[in-house]
């Protein structure tokens, strides 16, 4: 068994994903504990430049598989390749991110390798024997448990998002790139699955708990005519409409669009919240919002303290103008 820590890096739209950067940093930290080598695996098409990014964050070797057939994720192919590489190079530790892709790929690889996988870890340590001590939340975040898999070769885990801090390496090494050819690992008889289509979420129809962009309205909207402004803003931003309990009680939106304790939990990248004061029950449902713009007449409303941009003003005056301006900006885009 070689003293290497492998991490599987993912990329999207020409960039390494945030969770993969976290993964590299965590890998670097672990590698530093026992003087292990940190290697990254990168599968894709026309992604050579990304190897350099991985180097900046501490990867020493990158197993790069750059081929047209890897342009999008294919479970069986990626499994065959990753498992095949592990069998060939025998790393001690293999880590993936707990992303949707990771949740699919990691168990497949663990199954192929007949090793243990501990998913969604929020803390990783190394024992004296070099085993991973994996800590994670179970029972829906109610219990913290630490486990170890003495017989697992390689030691496998997926890392929960938001755990590791993303920081470039103070001492980046010269990257060694090992090209990998998919054809070496392709087993046609195991290729039974075919990915035949991709359906992008429609902001109007998607469940609000999945939505990336949300425009929400509450009591301050006052009436259905006012809520039309909310819908108009969502339209121009290609965002999803949601609201507080007030909006549901007043029948401006359906109950499936209610954010809050008795409604749904949302985690958008951006939320523009209009006329919502921010009662705890509502905040409970939107606490995972990444960026929050809150528009409210009352600057002391609880939600204003939580906003990245607190806008003190009347949404009935602001929204029409905002919609106009945004329409103008979006128009040139075909």
């Amino acid at each position: 068994m070689s003293n290497t820590i492998w991490i599987f890096a993912e990329h999207q739209r020409g960039e390494i994903t945030e969770s993969s950067l976290e993964l590299v940093c965590e890998g670097r930290r672990l590698a530093g504990l026992r003087r292990h080598e940190l290697c990254a695996l990168l599968f894709g098409h026309q992604i050579e430049a990304l190897a350099k990014t991985l180097a900046r964050y501490g990867a020493e070797t990158v197993y790069l598989a750059d081929h047209e057939v890897l342009a999008t994720y294919h479970p069986e192919l990626f499994t065959d390749m990753l498992a095949g590489l592990v069998k060939t190079y025998d790393p001690s530790i293999l880590l993936l991110s707990s992303s949707i892709l990771g949740q699919d790929l990691a168990p497949r690889v663990a199954a192929r390798l007949r090793t243990n996988l501990v998913p969604n870890c929020d803390k990783l340590e190394l024992s004296d024997e070099g085993l991973l001590l994996q800590t994670r939340l179970i029972y829906q975040n109610k219990i913290h448990t630490t486990v170890v898999c003495p017989g697992g070769k390689p030691q496998m885990a997926t890392l929960a998002p938001g755990i590791a801090k993303i920081k470039e390496s103070a001492t980046p090494k010269e990257i060694r790139i090992v090209p990998v050819a998919p054809t070496d690992f392709l087993q046609p008889e195991s290729q039974r699955i075919e990915v035949t289509g991709f359906i992008k979420a429609d902001p109007k129809a998607v469940d609000i708990s999945d939505a990336a962009l949300i425009v929400s309205g509450g009591k301050g909207v006052q009436d259905d005519a006012g809520f039309q402004l909310i819908r108009g803003l969502a339209d121009v931003l290609d965002a999803t409409v949601a609201g507080s309990r007030m909006a549901v009680d007043n029948q401006w939106i359906d109950r499936t669009r209610q954010i809050g304790q008795s409604g749904k939990t949302v985690s958008p990248d951006l939320m523009i919240s209009c006329g919502i004061s921010g009662a705890s029950a509502h905040i409970f449902g939107m606490r995972d919002t990444k960026t929050l713009i809150a528009i409210n007449k009352d600057k002391a409303a609880p939600i204003m303290r939580l906003a990245d941009l607190a806008v003190v003003g009347d949404l009935h005056e602001i929204l029409p103008m905002l919609i106009e301006r945004l329409r103008g900006i979006n128009a040139p885009k075909a």
Binding site: V118, Y139, Q140, H144, V147, V148, G152, F198, A211, M321
Partner: protein, 289 residues
């Protein structure tokens, strides 16, 4: 169509009761046992597939303590045709490889077109038994499925859930294994006659020993169980209108931290410009996506 669904009965625990740190086991009064929600989606989908195919059978299998029979009876009341209970009286929860090898040995000689699992169990949240069983039985596997259909050529065509509500369409031949995410259609609440039939149906009970021998596979060892620490964010205090239980939930999940964000006011023009600048700065405008 013949469908097999593997289900698990899980314990629902609470923050103040549920585990004993000295014995590393789940204990306490007020423990509630439920059918794993993702497994119920799987059962629902299985029944739907049987209806669509115009016939067949849905067999549910569980590995567990004798009280897991309640979960099987519920699956029967939902419309399953047959139930098998592999009794594991000792250990509360077996690890993934142990579970998978028992299930694989049980299922191997059975006839089926479709093998379903829930995406993950909400107790240990490992989410890999389905994948391991598919590997042991050499079945094509698709995870996080929300809808199943058959093509005219007799292959499965499924939709699986990606991030943010996006979906992927995948095809594969029969027989196949899927792990189920929250499905588009739901089960119907059991009727009175369904409950009666479920009560009276005999459940096949099997001892794990009779399913051996099992391959040697590595085991996971639990070192420690503890209550998680409250996330150290400065949170908005939950208001008194919330019940104790909700307040606990709120604090445990960290609420929402106070931000050091900017404030804008003034006339509408100024505000709108500030908002647009903010969006541009954060690279959040559609044109920038």
């Amino acid at each position: 169509m013949k469908i097999i669904v593997c289900v698990k009965q899980i314990a629902q625990i609470y923050i103040q009761s549920g585990y004993d740190p000295t014995t590393n086991a789940m204990v306490g009064d007020g423990l509630v046992y439920i059918l794993n929600p993702y497994d119920e989606f799987a059962v629902g989908e299985a029944i739907r597939q049987r209806e669509k195919a115009g016939g067949g059978a849905v067999t549910v299998i569980t590995l567990g303590h004798s009280r897991a029979e309640d979960a099987l009876r519920w699956c029967l009341a939902l419309g399953s045709d047959e139930a098998i209970h592999v009794l594991t009286p000792g250990a509360e929860s077996l690890d993934s490889w142990t579970t998978a090898s028992i299930l694989a040995n049980l299922i191997k000689p059975m006839e089926y077109d479709l093998l379903l699992f829930g995406k993950k169990a909400m107790d240990d949240e490992m989410g890999q038994v389905g994948t391991f069983v598919a590997e042991l039985l050499n079945l094509p596997l698709v995870t996080a499925v929300i809808d199943i259909d058959l093509t005219s050529a007799g292959k499965f065509r499924v939709q699986r859930a990606l991030e943010r509500g996006d979906r992927e369409e995948v095809t594969c031949p029969l027989p196949a294994a899927f792990t189920m995410e929250k499905t588009l259609t739901r089960t119907k609440y059991p009727t009175l006659p369904a409950r009666k039939a479920a009560r009276e149906m005999p459940i096949r009970q099997i001892d794990t020993h009779s399913l051996g021998p099992f391959p040697t596979l590595p085991k996971m060892v639990t070192l420690r169980l503890a209550q998680p620490k409250v996330k150290p964010k400065k949170i908005l205090a939950p208001d008194s209108a919330m019940s104790d239980a909700d307040r606990m939930k709120f604090i445990m999940t960290g609420g929402m931290g106070n931000k050091k964000g900017g404030t804008v006011g003034g006339n509408a023009e100024k505000i709108v410009s500030s908002i647009i600048d903010f969006l541009k700065e954060k690279m959040l405008l559609k044109a920038q996506f």
